[in-house]
C-alpha cells in the first residue's frame, strides 16, 4: 500500500474525514491529482475534496444552442455560445444567498409565474455547491427535429 492511501485510511479511521471524502481523495490520487497533503490543502485543509475535484477537472461551463430560422421564426439561424467560469457559478450561488428572507416569497411567486416553480428557501448553499461540483460530469446533448426545423443544444464542462 502506498503512503498516500495509508494516510487517507488513517484519516478515515481517526474520523478526520468521512467515507465519501476518503473515496474522493482516493479517486483523486488514482487520477494522479496530487498527494494527500496537496489535495487537503487546496480544499481548505479540512479534508473536503469536493472543491479540488471540480477545480482540477473543469473550469468552464459551455452552453451551445443552434436553431434553424423555421424553429425560432427569426431571420437566419440562431446561435448561442456561452462560456461561464465555474467560479462565477459558485459566486452566483453565494450572491443568491444574500437575498433577504422577506424577498423569498415574492421571488418564488414571480418565478412560478414565469414557469419556474422554484422555492428559494428550500435551496441550501451547501446543496448548490455540491450541484456545481457535479456539473463537471454533466454533458447534455439535445438534437430536436420537427419537420424540416432542427435545434441542437449542448451543455458541457471543459
Amino acid at each position: 500500500m502506498n503512503e498516500n492511501r495509508r494516510q487517507i485510511l488513517e484519516m478515515l479511521a481517526a474520523g478526520k474525514i468521512t467515507t465519501d471524502e476518503a473515496e474522493r481523495l482516493l479517486a483523486a490520487i488514482e487520477r494522479g491529482a496530487g498527494t494527500v497533503g496537496e489535495l487537503k490543502g487546496s480544499a481548505g485543509g479540512n479534508g473536503d475534496a469536493r472543491g479540488t475535484t471540480a477545480k482540477a477537472g473543469c473550469k468552464y461551463l459551455r452552453v451551445l444552442v443552434e436553431a434553424d430560422e423555421s424553429m425560432t421564426g427569426m431571420k437566419g439561424p440562431t446561435t448561442v455560445n456561452v462560456r461561464v467560469p465555474m467560479q462565477l457559478l459558485r459566486a452566483g450561488v453565494r450572491l443568491a444567498s444574500l437575498i433577504p428572507q422577506q424577498a423569498h416569497g415574492h421571488l418564488d411567486q414571480a418565478l412560478s409565474q414565469h414557469g419556474v416553480p422554484l422555492t428559494l428557501s428550500q435551496i441550501k448553499p451547501e446543496n448548490l455547491e455540491e450541484l456545481i461540483d457535479h456539473l463537471e460530469d454533466l454533458t447534455v446533448d439535445v438534437n430536436g427535429k420537427e419537420g424540416n426545423a432542427a435545434t441542437k443544444v449542448r451543455v458541457f464542462c471543459e
Binding site: 473550469k59 431571420k75 437566419g76 446561435t79 462560456r83 467560469p85 467560479q87 453565494r94
Partner: protein, 86 residues
C-alpha cells in the same frame, strides 16, 4: 483577479462595430476613490436587509473576481452580440 479588459462586438445586416477593447483596469482608479462611499452604502443596504456587511462585501468581491473568462456570443435575427471578459 478582477476583470481587466472587456471586448465587445456588435453586428447587424447593415452595420458592424469594430472590436471594442474596453480597458476596465482604468476604472480601478475612480473605483478606489469611490470605494469608501460604496462600502458605506453597501453596509447600510446589507444591514437593512439583515445581512452581515462583511459577508455581502466578500460575496460581491468574489463575484467580481470570477468574471474573467466569461464569453457570450449570441447571433439571432441577423444580429450578433459578442462579449468577452478577460
Amino acid at each position: 483577479m478582477i476583470p481587466s479588459i472587456a471586448v465587445l462586438h456588435f453586428e447587424n445586416q447593415r452595420w458592424r462595430s469594430p472590436r471594442l477593447w474596453i480597458p476596465l483596469f482604468l476604472l480601478w482608479v475612480p473605483a478606489l476613490l469611490l470605494a469608501p462611499l460604496a462600502v458605506l452604502v453597501l453596509a447600510g443596504l446589507s444591514l437593512a436587509g439583515g445581512i452581515g456587511p462583511w459577508r455581502a462585501l466578500r460575496v460581491l468581491w468574489e463575484f467580481l473576481c470570477s468574471l474573467p473568462g466569461t464569453h457570450v456570443h449570441v447571433r439571432a435575427d441577423g444580429k450578433t452580440v459578442q462579449v468577452r471578459v478577460f
